[in-house]
Amino acid sequence: MLSPIEGSRAVAETVARCRPQVVCAYPISPQTHIVENLSALVKSGRLAPCEFVNVESEFAAMSVAIGASATGARAYTATASQGLLYMAEALYNAAGLGLPIVMTVANRAIGAPINIWNDHSDAMSQRDCGWIQLYAEDNQAAADLHVIGFRLAEELSTPVMVCMDGFVLTHAVEAVDVPDQTTVDRFLPAYQPRQVLDPDAPVTIGAMVGPEAFTEVRYLAHANQLRVLDRMPELAHQFATTFDRDIDVLVSPYRCDDADTVVVALGSVLGTLKDTVDGLRADGMPVGVLGLTMFRPFPVAAIRTAVGPAKRIVVLERAFAAGVGGIVSADLAGVLPAGEREMYTVVAGLGGRPVTRDSLREMLAAAFSGRLAPLTFLDLDERLLRAEEVRS
């Protein structure tokens, strides 16, 4: 049933219905409301049996999740920004050990300068750590992706990160159908660990691996990620029949079929983009939007199909690689046949700067007329730049 609810609370309620047995967290904006809600659910007994572990850092949060998951408990945590970076070492470990931990990342910029507002710098910095990365367009998707995330993680023994834009989604109240317990139980079976610490059948987990086998271990991890691409559409279909609503799990194309220009983006900016595209279509410009729900593994085949023969790709990036440019666009350039296609990287909305329809319209008009630079920072304040140059 649709009812107005804050994004964080919708996620917390949904996660609770996924019956995590160990929840561990350290507070960081804008993730806080999620774990506050979960702590209340555990304390009140509404989420039981569950251990809520208040840890001393994000590094410990991920470490507790690792220990819990390896001991056969469904483990969940949430973080953002600096906290995700502080976890980085343990993130690689969770993935390498094949532990199906599910984590919400309330996306936020990385300092310095310190900035608590939204962009994707945090999750993008961990794109190669071996976690599945899913990006929510709105709070319904944020909630639903957690349910499917637990199922996927545990089927393939791999950790899953559900990314939702900080504040824009986490603190926004919108109508969400929070999945009910009975339906979640139908979709999500109890956690069956691939390997578990048990005195009745002792195993060594986390052995040291030398050069003679390390590449093979990595190869198997890669192969397992590719299995995700095959499995996810099936799970999405099951989800749709169980919950009676659709879910985009790889990509979400919007008016792409006959588009000669496709704007690629992730997360909550997709709503603004779709509005903008509707306006441009009304003006006779054949533009489409391609949302990437899954960024890791990179859904290559789905992207190729969705983009089709479009002549122009504009990648709207909410993070960037200093010294190079686009992150998502670099991946896209690697998998889309070049041919006559033009590729543009537009860095937008860093540190919470609003991405407006007017700016997007102007940017797309420039792309159509060949005036857009290959790498553009949207709404760059030239006056402020000059002032800072003078100061330095």
Binding site: S57, G67, A73, A207
Partner: protein
């Protein structure tokens, strides 16, 4: 050449074991012991940590009836025991990282609790680098939450796995590859480092103890005691490293014993912040006797004897002896008690070691 076999006094060390009644013998003397860390691993000759881990794990296995899970920090112990595709562990064993073993152990404990597997106990282990330095925040967090874990630090006083660099547990004046024997104050500087056991006591956890691999009965009884309690517990075991300390491989146990007898490594037990028992020094030695067999302290004797530095180390030993009351018949100073007002546990004094050690001797003539 045939090897000389030493015969120690009954009731103290390994050889005397066979003269004890069966129930008082060590776990290690029992042929049916769990052998948690099997032979055939790749530790160095004379490795104190390999002995310590085997002693601790086997004792913990006996104390828990085999219902045990262990978590291991990165370090020598992890590296020499689990070279893929082999493992030397016959207990459920998890390694994650260098700095997070206490937190991973907390996660294991939380999972066991929520899964209603309270019969299974958790033991975390790491070297001094993983415990005293990089994992210290996680250790403190585990203590402060009171998670049901025994964490054991195998203290070899340096980063031995990476080539003998200084750690927060490296003693003053010791030479390591990052505190080299050069300059006017060669070796590690005085006044740095930290006492993890004392800091653990400040958390007022149920049980903190120190031990060495030189006294097997004491070490095993402390593991057993710790496994009989719940909540966060800490055991700090001195494990000499022949490679890093530059001591003879055959002298590992002796060097550990000299550390205790000199007063440089006080052996004690504490509950809820109070010292409840100490191992009295029965045969006190000058620190020099402990320092001499170790190349890491050679610069204190060659080319010239650094009496100033040796005196400084002796002062530390003397202070430990006063502070913990390590000489028989003396009470320790109140400064090592971290109890909050009104939280003293009555009736827990004098339990354990003090009652088991007959034949107390006075200070060595060298003093």
């Amino acid at each position: 050449m045939s090897q000389h076999v030493r015969f120690y006094q009954t009731g103290s060390f390994a050889v005397g074991n066979r003269l004890l009644p069966i129930q008082a013998r060590t776990v290690q003397s029992d042929p049916t012991r769990s052998n948690s860390l099997t032979s055939g691993h790749r530790a160095c000759r004379g490795c104190g940590e390999a002995l310590g881990a085997r002693y601790v794990l086997d004792a913990a296995m006996r104390a828990t009836g085999g219902r045990l899970v262990t978590v291991n920090a990165t370090g020598c112990l992890e590296v020499f025991s689990t070279p893929y595709p082999e493992t030397s562990w016959r207990v459920p064993w998890l390694h994650s990282l260098f700095g997070n073993a206490p937190a991973v152990a907390s996660g294991v404990a939380a999972a066991l609790k929520v899964r209603d597997r309270g019969d299974i106990r958790v033991l975390g282990q790491g070297g001094d680098g993983g415990t005293v330095d990089i994992g210290f925040g996680a250790l403190s967090g585990m203590f402060e939450r009171g998670d049901d874990v025994l964490f054991v630090c195998y203290d070899n006083q340096g980063y031995m796995n990476t080539g003998v660099q200084r750690s927060g547990a490296t003693p003053p004046a010791a030479r390591t590859s990052t505190t080299q024997a050069v300059g006017s104050a060669p070796g590690n500087v005085f006044g740095q480092g930290k006492s993890a056991p004392l800091i653990a006591m400040a958390h007022e956890i149920p049980y903190v103890a120190t031990a060495t691999i030189a006294d097997l009965h004491d070490l095993e009884s402390k593991v057993e005691r710790a496994m009989g309690l719940h909540g966060a517990r800490y055991l700090h075991v001195l494990v000499p490293c022949p490679l890093g300390w530059g001591s003879e491989a055959a002298q590992t146990i002796r060097v550990a014993r000299l550390a205790v007898q000199s007063g440089l490594f006080p052996v004690f037990e504490a509950e809820r912040g109070n010292v409840t028992a100490v191992s009295p020094i029965r045969h006190r030695v000058h620190v020099e006797e402990y320092l001499r067999p170790q190349i890491r302290f050679r610069h204190l004797f060659e080319p010239t004897r650094r009496a100033d530095v040796i005196d400084g180390l002796q002062a530390i030993a003397d202070r430990n002896i006063r502070r913990f009351g390590l000489l028989p018949g003396r009470r320790h100073e109140a400064t090592v008690c971290y109890h909050a007002a009104g939280r003293q546990q009555p009736g827990q004094q004098d339990r354990g070691l003090a009652n088991r050690t007959p034949g107390v001797r006075g200070p060595a003539p060298a003093m």
